[in-house]
């Protein structure tokens, strides 16, 4: 498992590159790599902009039936999300919406888990499996 700090825009770029290499090295298709790295970019940016900075953890995982996947964990100690349902509300947008971009991000990955409490920070864990 690798840990990368998210304290600046440069760090977000670094996280993207790291995740892209991890995805490519572990057999994800090009489209799946793109989806995962894009999700990582969204989540890293959230961690930086809304969470006041935090850390990204990248891990290669194996499923019960032997498939390999890449697991990402974005954790911050920011203000937390008070209304999780609202943050995850879906909508086929034209891209002019504000917000945390979480509903879209969820569609890019296979597994998505969000834990957050006001005053206790936020943690988003996602997994993308190879086919």
């Amino acid at each position: 498992m690798d840990e990368l700090p998210i304290r600046s825009g440069d760090d977000v770029v670094r996280v993207r590159q790291f995740v892209r290499n991890a995805a490519a090295d572990n057999g994800l298709s090009l489209v799946d790599q793109t989806k995962l790295v894009t999700a990582a970019s969204e989540l890293a940016r959230n961690t930086l902009v809304h969470g006041g900075g935090g850390v990204a953890r990248v891990e290669v995982v194996k499923s019960a039936n032997g498939r390999i996947g890449v697991k990402l964990d974005f954790t911050d100690e920011g203000p937390g999300i008070s209304d999780i349902d609202l943050a995850l509300t879906d909508g086929w947008t034209t891209g002019t919406g504000l917000g945390l971009g979480l509903s879209g991000t969820r569609r890019l990955v296979d597994e998505f888990e969000l834990t957050s409490e006001p005053g206790a920070g936020t943690s988003v864990v996602v997994v993308k499996w190879s086919r």
Partner: protein, 117 residues
Amino acid sequence: MERVPILKIGQTLFVSIQIDLQDETVIRLQEDLADELAATGAHGVIIDITAVEIVDSFIGRMLTTIGSISRLFDAETVLVGMRPAVAITLTELGLSLSGVRTALNAEKGLEILNGKS
């Protein structure tokens, strides 16, 4: 911080994005384009993203915003060369970038600007 260069050829501004975009670079590009449009009175903008591997919601919104800004200067923007993987990802994210026109490459982009369609 890296800056994306803007080329002027005739009445068109060309922007070719070759680097991994940081937020500040993106915002700077928007500002630079607005300046150039105001200064040159160009009729069109071509943004070439053939080399771009990741377009997230922030960059996607920037592209739409550039389209809106250009229109205020009576210029049209065409986004060219989007990679299939990027298009599929943007669609999944729910971004249709309906504020900008698109084309497969710069050549077709120019045809659009020059009134072919």
